[in-house]
């Protein structure tokens, strides 16, 4: 018997709860991993092309990595020309980022007329760009401004807001209140690595990988109890039981990010399937089914 892995997200049926986290899916090797995913989510797109940050861009740390890519991408029109490369029979979710509210809403307006796009995720929390990025997550007022403008520009397509762990409760309520259909929690966490031999900063960027899993899990756990809209868990998910933990804590689906660099997503899905069989549950039934425990405060 195979476990029922299907879930639904904002009315979109997903054949598995796994989604690639923005910036971790390779178009070149998409075919190898597509079987594991319920949707495709390419790297964040900005209005114009971006060259990204100069190297170095990645550093390994204990159980994770720090990255500072700087949203290198071909810009919206370039991306749309390449969109066919992401069509593998799965819903396509598009992650967008702008420097201003107007850029965000402009991206949404353009994608509103694109039938191949099933949902748009607002990257409100990239720690690696000088303008925009995390500043949109600075507080509920700025979250409200962006989400409201994007909602107006994209009336008929599911809209996700990807938020940082810091201030996640207030920002989640703000995003939900202004029309986000789902919340992706959480983005990478601002981090620093230092080269002690050169006595220099090596990399200022965002921390990802198993190191951030407990932080992400807590964000999902708290926000899922606070909002009505679905939560998409993201942060350090590297195994089938990690997926189960996020779904138990309230996630309707999850994003697998940097761990897909070191494990095959298909193996993570097999582990989830094994867990579900053992528990006698479907993936959809797992969401929010965490038992209450008195000692949790």
């Amino acid at each position: 018997m195979v476990a029922d892995l299907r879930v639904e997200l904002c009315g979109i049926p997903l054949r598995t709860p796994l989604i690639p986290a923005a910036g971790t899916l390779s178009r070149e090797t998409l075919g190898e991993a597509a079987d594991a995913y319920g949707a495709v989510l390419p790297k964040t797109v900005t209005p114009g092309p971006r060259r990204g940050n100069p190297p170095p861009r990645v550093a390994e740390v204990a159980s994770g990595m720090v990255n500072s890519i700087g949203l290198q991408n071909p810009g919206l029109e370039g991306f749309l020309r390449e969109l066919g490369g992401y069509e593998v029979g799965l819903p396509v979710f598009v992650s967008v980022a702008g420097d201003t509210v107007e850029e965000f809403s402009g991206l949404c307006a353009r994608l509103a007329s694109e039938p191949r796009v099933s949902a748009v995720e607002l990257n409100l929390s990239c720690p690696n760009v000088e303008h925009g990025g995390l500043t949109f997550c600075a507080g509920p007022e700025s979250v409200e401004r962006v989400v409201a403008a994007c909602r107006a520009a994209l009336p008929g397509t599911p809209l996700f807001a990807k938020l940082a762990s810091e201030g996640v409760r207030e920002n989640s309520l703000a995003a939900e209140g202004t029309g986000a259909d789902a919340l992706t929690l959480v983005n990478t966490i601002p981090a620093l690595t230092v080269d002690p031999h050169r006595r220099e900063v090596f990399l200022k960027g965002g921390l990802s990988g198993p190191a951030i899993k407990p932080v992400a899990l807590r964000s999902v756990y708290e926000v899922a109890r606070l909002v009505e809209v679905p939560v998409i868990g993201c942060g350090g998910i590297a195994s089938g039981t990690d997926v189960a933990e996020f779904m138990l804590a309230g996630a309707a689906a999850v994003q697998v990010g940097s761990s897909s660099f070191v494990r095959e997503p298909g193996d993570i899905l097999s582990e989830l399937s094994g867990y579900l069989q053992g528990a006698g549950l479907s993936a959809a039934a797992l969401t929010g089914s965490l038992r209450d425990r008195e000692r949790v405060v």
């Binding site: 060259r51 990204g52 190297p55 170095p56 204990a62 159980s63 990988g209 590297a238 660099f261």
Partner: protein
């Protein structure tokens, strides 16, 4: 990221330089010279160290592949001791091999690694070539002997770790216009020096080394500054490289 299990067959250490030969039944054709594999210790799903390590393919014969790398930290130390590996690859774009010859191969540091397979490929095609390798002062004598034996006909240039080591190796090769192609794999200084010396005279192909995370084109972590249509941009060493034409690099 497709990972394949590989069994380590042979290990040799020369100080911090390690030669590892493994067997893998992974599907796919033989590696091209200049391609790399991304490797982590096998037999475990432990994620610390988190990332796999990219190494140039040193040599390949049938189902066996050998790697030459330097132990720099815990990740490479664990790989040096592993009896089983998880391997992804061969990956990336390697050297374009061919031409009339003679070709020049320049290598420095542990990045001499891909020149072995390249030299064998050139020999198979009947392309005459000369090989000059920097002999590092820090490595034990056994490494020098191994280099001599493993790169037959190569000239080892003892540089003593001088700041202009790359220039010394290049000077030994002499006038580059004698060659039909130049292939370089070394430290950044050697790549830059060779690119400048070859510019406008002979096509140069440079194997770059960058820190990598995904090694599959997803993360854009291994950015290399390049010229693209007259505009400065970043290419990914893992899919657009690791071998670049000299004039394409915007260093």
């Amino acid at each position: 990221m497709k990972l394949h299990t590989a069994e380590v067959l042979h290990r040799e250490a020369f100080g911090d330089h390690v030669l590892l030969r493994y067997r893998s039944d992974a599907p796919g054709g033989p590696p091209e010279p200049g391609q790399f594999v991304s490797v982590r210790p096998g037999g475990s799903t432990a994620l610390d160290p988190f990332l796999s390590r990219p190494f140039f393919v040193h040599d390949s014969e049938g189902t066996t592949t050998s790697l030459l790398f330097e132990v720099r930290g815990r990740g490479t130390a664990l790989l040096a001791e592993a009896s089983e590996l998880s391997v992804s690859g061969p990956l990336g774009r390697g050297f374009t091999v061919g031409g009339d010859g003679p070709a020049l191969l320049l290598g420095g540091g542990v990045w001499v690694a891909p020149l072995k397979l390249l030299s064998r490929s050139l020999s198979r095609l009947g392309v005459e070539h000369e090989v000059f390798l920097e002999a590092p002062a820090s490595a034990p004598a056994a490494y020098g002997s191994w280099l001599s034996g493993n790169y037959p006909g190569a000239e080892l240039v003892p540089t003593g770790g001088a700041p202009d080591a790359s220039r010394q190796v290049l000077d030994r090769a002499g006038d580059l216009s004698r060659y039909s192609a130049v292939y370089v794999s070394g430290g950044r200084e050697m790549l830059v020096a060779a690119r400048e010396a070859a510019a406008g005279r002979v096509p140069a192909q440079l194997a770059v080394r960058e820190r990598m995370a995904c090694a599959s084109g997803a993360c854009y972590g291994c950015a290399v500054p390049v010229w693209s249509g007259g505009v400065r941009g970043h290419a990914r060493a893992c899919v657009e490289g690791p071998v670049f034409r000299g004039e394409a690099l915007a260093w």
